[in-house]
Amino acid sequence: MSKDDDRSPPLDLRGADIAESSSKTRNCVTGSGHVTGMNPMEFQAPYPDQVLENVLENVLQFLTSRRDRNAASLVCKSWCRVEALTRSELFIGNCYSVSPKRATARFSRVRAVAIKGRPRFADFNLMPPEWGAHFKPWVAALGSAYPWLEKVYLKRMSVTDEDLKHLAEYFPSFKELVLVCCDGFGTRGLAVIAKKCRQLRVLDLIESEVADSDMDWIGEFPESGITCLESLIFDCVESPINFEALERLVVRSPSLKKLRLNRFVSIGQLYRLMVRAPQLTHLGTGSFSLAEGVAHGDQEPDYESAFAACKSLVCLSGFREIATDYLSAIYAVCANLTSLNLSYANINAEQLKTVIFHCHKLQTFWVLDTICDEGLQAAAATCKDLRELRVFPIDAREDSEGPVSEVGLQAISEGCRKLQSILYFCQHMTNAAVIAMSNNCPDLEVFRLCIMGRHRPDHLTGQPMDEGFGAIVKNCKKLTRLAVSGLLTDQAFSYIGRYGKLVRTLSVAFAGNSDRGLKYVLEGCPRLQKLEIRDSPFGDEALRSGLHHYYNMRFLWMSSCSLSPQGCREIARALPRLVVEVIKDEAEVNRGECEEHIDDAFDILYMYRSLEGPRDDAPHFVQEHSKQKQGIGLSNIVLLIIYPSMKRWRFGLEELEVQNGEFTKFSSMPPVEKQELAFTREKKKNLVCLF
C-alpha cells in the first residue's frame, strides 16, 4: 500500500459495514481496493514492507479505541502511516490543539469527526462570550478533505448558520449531526440541514442555544417519501415548531427511534405523535401539559394506552412544564425504563414515589431536589440497578432551602450499590455520608458533589469536608472524575494526590489553603487531563510544580486564584508547546487602564498543549504567552513491550506493567524531537523504544 494520493473513500473491511452500505448511496469501492485479505498482485511494485503494511492495515482496521490507535501510530513511520489510513473516526479533544489543515493532512479517510471547543467553565458565564472555538475553519478543511464525511459531533463550539449551510453543501452522504452545548446558530441553519441532507439519520441538539430566526425548520424536511431519520432531538430549542409538519415527518420516518420534543409541544400533541410512533425507544415528552388556552375536557386522549403501546421505550425525559395530573400516564412504561430524566419536573416526594415504585430496571436517573431526601430514599429502595444519578437544585443559590442533604446521599449509597456516577447538589453535607458512599459504592467512577454554600463545613461536626473526599479517592478505585466542594483544606488535596491515581478530570472551587494543595495534585495524579480551578489560593509556585505534566493534559483552567502574569510567562517559556492564555475582563481592557491597587490583574488562566502555537482568532481580551517553535510535534517517551506469549498487546503511553512478574514503570519525560525507532531483539523480549 503506497501512500494514498487519491481521494477514494475508506475501505470497509467489517462485514456489518458492507451489508449496511449496500442499501445506501455511497461511493463504490473500486477493484483496486481490498475487500478481504491481502492481494499483493494488485500492486504495481510489491515490496516486502508493503506486505507487512497490508497485514497491518487489515489488523489496525479493527482497532477502535483511539488511545490504542494513538499508541500504535507511535511505533514507527510505517505504523503511523497505516494507522492514519485506517482511522475513520477523528476525535479532537481541544479544537485549538491542532489545526484543521494538519489534522486532515494526516488522516485522509475520516468518516466521522468529533471536536470539542470551549472549556467546561465557560458554561457558567466564567468566560467572555466571544472567546472562540469556531467551527468555521474546520468545516472548510473537512469539506475539502472528506467529501464522504458522514458524521459530525461538536461540543461547546460556536457554529453559525453559514457553517451549517456548508455542512449540508459539502457532504452529500451526511448522516449524523450532534451539537452539544453549542451556540451561534439558529433555526435558519437547521432549516438548511433539514432540507438538504437527504440521508440524515440523526439530528441531535443537546443543551445548545438555538436562536429563533422565525424559520419553520421542521417544515423543511422533505415532504414526501420515507426518511431515514432515526433520531431527532430538539428539546433545547426555545422556539415553537410547526407541529403539523412534525407529525407528517414522524409518520414518514419508520426508523425513528429517538424523539425528544421541546416545551412548545403540548401533551395533546405528544399523544398524536406517540400513536404514530410506537416503535420509539427514547422519548422526550415536551411540556407534558395542556396547550395554552386548553382546559381539561371530557374527551381527553387515552395517554395511558399511548404509553403502553410503546413497548420498546427505555428512555424517558422532557416534562418541561409538567402538569402532574398526567404523571400516572407513564406508569405502564416504567418497568422497562433504563433512563428517566425528571430534572425539569417540579414534583414532590409523593408524586415521585408513584412513578419510581415501578422503575426496577432504572440505570440512569436525573431529578430535581424537590423530591427531597424522602424521594431519594424511595429511589434507593427500588432502583437496585442504578448506575448514574443526578440531583439538580430547583433553587440554585447559596442560601436557599436545601431539600436534599446527607440523608438522601446515605440512602442512595445503601440502596444503589452499583452506582458509577453521581452529581449531587445540596446545601448541607456530612463527611459520614460521603464516607459511607465511598464504602458502599466501590464502582464509582464519577463523583461530583456540589455543596452550594461556599466553604461550608460538615454541618454536624463543623469539620472540613477533607475526610469525606479523601475516602472517595481512597476507596473508589475506579474513580476518574471528581468535583469537590465545601470547606476543604490542603489535606483534601493531599488525599487526592495520594490516592487519586486514575483521576482524569478534577474540578475545584473555593478550596484549599496554600500552594501545597495544588502541588499535591499536580505531583500525585499521573492521569490528570483536565483540571479546572476557581477562586482558590493557588499561586505561581504551585503552577510551577506541574511543569512535568502539562504536556500530558488537555487543559488547565485557573480563575480568580493567586497567579501572577510573571508566573504564567514562566510556564510559557518553559513549555514552548503550551499555549498560555491569560484572559482579562473585557470592560477593563476597553478602558485601557490598570487598577492602581491590583496590577496586571487578570481573571483567567487557560492553558493547553498545541501543535500550532497561539491561535490567530484570539479576541483582544486574550493575551497569549506562548513561544512558537519550529519542528514537528510534541512527543512523550513511549515504551511498547510486545510479548509473544501475551494474548493481547498492551499499548500505553505512560506506565506499563509487564505480565510475567517483572514490574516496569516509565514516566513521561520532557518532549524531545522524534527520531527513528530502534528495534532491538533480545532473548526474552522484543523491546521497542520510541523517542
Binding site: E209, E398, D535
Partner: protein, 197 residues
C-alpha cells in the same frame, strides 16, 4: 420616622419635603432603602421563610427590631448550573427577566476581584450586607452628610462619567444603571469621600 408615619397617615408630606435628590427618581424606594439602612431593617422578600434564611423572623410585625440575615452575594458562575436550567425552572414573572448587570468589586488589600450581579439585590442594604459577607468586613453606618461612619472601609463605585461616588448617594435604580465597578476603599481615602459631598 416621622416622615414615614406622616406618609402612612395620608398627608404625603414626602411630596413636599425638601431634600437633595434628582427629579424623577423613585423617591419612595430610596426612602425605604435609606430608612432601612438606618433602622437595620431590610425589605424582606415575601418568601423569606421558604428561602430558609437563617434566623428569619417569625413575626413580620417585629421585623423592625430584628436584623434579617444577610443574603449572600451571588457569585458569577456559582453554583455551577447552566443558565438554561435556572431560567426554565423559575416561575415566569411579569417583567422580563433581563440579563444580569455584572460589575467587578475590588477591595483595598484583597488580592483578587469579585464579580457580582447587581440585579440580584433589591436595594442598598442587601448589597452592602452582601459585600460585607463577601470580603469579611463591616461597613459603617451611612449618613448623607458624613458618608460611612464607624469603620475604616467605605464602599465606592465608579459611574458612567468616570467619577468615584459613594455607594448610597443616588437612588438605587440610578445606581444600578450607572455603576461600572465597585471599590471598597480603606483608610484616609474613604474618609475623604465621605465629607464634603
Amino acid at each position: 420616622m416621622e416622615s414615614k408615619v406622616a406618609y402612612e397617615n395620608g398627608l404625603n408630606l414626602k411630596a413636599t419635603e425638601l431634600r437633595l435628590g434628582l427629579p424623577g427618581t423613585d423617591i419612595e424606594s430610596e426612602e425605604q432603602a435609606l430608612s432601612s439602612a438606618r433602622n437595620n431593617k431590610r425589605p424582606l422578600p415575601d418568601n423569606s421563610k421558604e428561602c430558609g434564611l437563617k434566623g428569619s423572623s417569625d413575626d413580620a410585625q417585629h421585623s423592625d427590631h430584628e436584623t434579617a440575615p444577610p443574603a449572600k452575594a451571588q457569585i458569577v458562575g456559582w453554583p455551577p448550573i447552566r443558565s438554561y436550567r435556572k431560567n426554565n425552572l423559575q416561575p415566569k414573572k411579569g417583567e422580563a427577566e433581563a440579563s444580569g448587570i455584572y460589575v467587578k468589586v475590588s477591595m483595598d488589600g484583597a488580592p483578587y476581584l469579585r464579580k457580582i450581579d447587581l440585579r440580584v439585590y433589591k436595594g442598598y442594604p442587601e448589597l452592602l450586607k452582601a459585600l460585607e459577607n463577601m470580603f469579611k468586613f463591616t461597613i459603617g453606618e451611612y449618613s448623607e452628610r458624613e458618608g460611612y461612619k464607624g469603620s475604616e472601609f467605605a464602599p465606592t463605585y465608579e459611574d458612567k462619567d468616570g467619577d468615584w461616588m459613594l455607594v448610597g448617594d443616588v437612588p438605587w435604580d440610578m445606581f444600578m444603571s450607572s455603576c461600572k465597578r465597585l471599590r471598597i476603599m480603606k483608610g484616609l481615602e474613604a474618609r475623604g469621600l465621605g465629607c464634603g459631598v
